[in-house]
């Protein structure tokens, strides 16, 4: 008897018991169940929840792999800089090396494993208690979480945050599809407010920088945003910023690969291009406004906001987590606006507020996750007014006709 047949027999045996949902989850993850729909006509489409989730995960894989190499690259580059060595940068010679990948494997993979392990455990427990099937909702969240935390985040902190995010961010509202806030960002926000020393500053972004504080081997882990916020020179070229050879959270540095993922999501019609485009527009507009303020000399270089306000608007789109947030977080179909017009407003405000928080919060110069969480809360309101506006316009039209 094949494994598949065995599993089906086991399923029949455990039917109706408490553990059934947990077992079914593993079973349907591996195989298509033998059950077929009974009676009636059903609309058939291939893009069920599981497939949607898998496509998003596939579009995240390049970012994850890049993040693993980048973890090692930033580590060794920071050491070289601290020792005063300058070496020629080549993608094959100094980026895609086994040494770099090894750092990625020992630092990034545990984050992924803890994120999935803890998150799915919580999902299993809730499925057993509530007696429903385990939902696929955590598959994407579990992949997003390791990509948006600093590399040296202690694993137990991540575990605590994942429990909080999944329970308070999602399960209390009724599970996948019912949540108001994006669970991955809830986890990120929890980490940020609970353990700020591990989530901000100039050390946590490069592996081992925290341990080396105060020793002779001290290295810097300053991000580009951090340098701008302190009015310091930025040592990275535009190409570095675009391709992602910069310090930052694990998977959000490479704008190039994120746009590749975005293209894949738009092509498969999983992600909304309206939200992605409008987020970038919103950020660009806010960046332009700040540039104009600097150009009008309202803010001069003595101000603490000068560094980030003076950043050219298109550079704002490449640095920090804006691109990652726009493509993978803002487009979450559950928490985003549903109407097309609403999506434009929603995305625009995310970008607009992101840059505003980024500039006005020099202690932690990044606000994409806060902006998206804020707009998650407002998304239903935006939809309401878009729908009501539409209703009013059409009512008016019928009145004119009848009059």
């Amino acid at each position: 008897m094949s494994l598949k047949q065995n599993l089906h027999n086991l399923k029949e045996k455990y039917k109706g018991t408490k553990m059934a949902p947990a077992f079914n989850a593993i079973h349907t993850f591996l195989y298509l169940p033998n059950e077929v729909t009974h009676g009636g006509t059903h609309i058939k489409a291939a893009d069920d929840l599981k497939r949607t989730m898998n496509i998003v995960i596939m579009s995240l894989i390049p970012c994850l792999l890049f993040g693993m190499f980048n973890a090692g690259y930033q580590h060794y580059a920071a050491i070289e800089r601290a020792q005063g060595i300058t070496s020629e940068f080549t993608v094959l010679g100094s980026f895609l090396t086994w040494d770099n990948l090894w750092i990625g494997i020992i630092k990034v993979l545990p984050l992924v494993i803890v994120s999935y392990g803890v998150g799915l455990l919580v999902e299993f427990i809730f499925a057993v208690i509530k007696g429903h099937e385990v939902e696929e909702g955590y598959l994407v969240t579990g992949m997003l979480v390791p990509l948006i935390v600093p590399i040296d985040t202690p694993l137990w902190m991540l575990a605590v945050a994942v429990v909080f995010g999944v329970v308070i961010g999602k399960e209390v509202f009724g599970g996948t599809g019912m949540n108001i806030l994006n669970p991955a960002l809830t986890i990120r926000a929890f980490l940020f407010f609970a353990y700020p020393t591990w989530m901000s500053g100039d050390k946590v972004w490069v592996h081992d920088a925290v341990n080396r504080v105060g020793t002779a081997d001290a290295i810097s882990g300053e991000t580009i945003l951090g340098s701008y916020a302190q009015n310091q020179e930025v040592i990275y070229s535009t190409w570095d910023k675009f391709a992602g050879f910069i310090p930052g959270s694990v998977g959000e540095t490479s704008t190039l690969l994120i746009l590749l993922g975005a293209a894949f999501l738009i092509f498969t019609k999983i992600g909304s291009w309206r939200i992605i485009v409008s987020t970038f527009i919103g950020a660009a507009v806010m960046g332009l406004i700040f540039n104009q303020i600097v150009a009008a000399e309202i803010i001069t270089d003595s101000s603490k906001f000068y560094g980030l306000m003076n950043t050219v608007w298109w550079e704002h789109l490449m640095i920090g987590g804006l691109a990652f947030g726009a493509v993978f977080m803002a487009t979450d179909p559950v928490t985003a606006s549903q109407t097309n017009k609403g999506k434009w407003i929603y995305g625009f405000l995310i970008g607009f507020i992101s840059i505003m928080i980024r500039v006005f919060n020099p202690a932690y110069p990044e606000g994409v996750f806060l902006a998206i969480l804020l707009m998650n809360v407002f998304a239903p309101t935006i939809d309401h007014y878009v729908v009501q506006g539409n209703v009013k316009r059409r009512l008016k039209r019928t009145k004119v006709k009848t009059a």
Partner: protein
Amino acid sequence: MGLLSKKDAVLLTDPLADNNPITIQVLGICSALAITAELKASIVMAISVMFVLGLGNVVISLMRNIIPSKIRIIVQLIVVATLVIIVDLVLKAFAYELSKTLSVFVGLIITNCIIMGRFEAFALGNGPWRSFLDGIGNAVGYGVILIIVGFFRELLGSGTLLGFKVLGDPIEKTGLYAIGYENNGFMLLSPMALIVVGIIIWIQRSKNKSLIEEN
């Protein structure tokens, strides 16, 4: 409870769980969020409210037949304000540091919805002894939640309980901190108090299904 008849005992026990002012009636939330970052402040707040509510209920109950109903709110406010000022002055005299932590929230006991709620709903229609029991019962129900929230917030947020370092010293890295544990700064912020209260409500309702309203 030999002292109390069954009917009176209910006045004391009901607000502890099934009719808790915070978790069921959702009153007095503002102070529950504001002062529960430390266990000590929560306990002092609970005692203060117990004093004000217990005595206030008795006073209002004694005067219930002579208060014209048109100006009853004003009379109630005067009674609460008098009692709150007594509490405030006592705290300032004997626990000045604590009084500074509680700051404006002692004064704001006046606006604690539980107090006005009990005056209106109970003391105006019942005798002094029953009103006293009702006031104490509700204040204890309020205090229990405050102390539970304060316990978790101080333990997880600062690693202390009543000021004692129960989890070790975060700066010298002793106790739990030696193995990498860190305080959860989120616990010290008010939103976390709301979430803790929410979790208590959640647990209470899943234990006692009759509390869940039908939609």
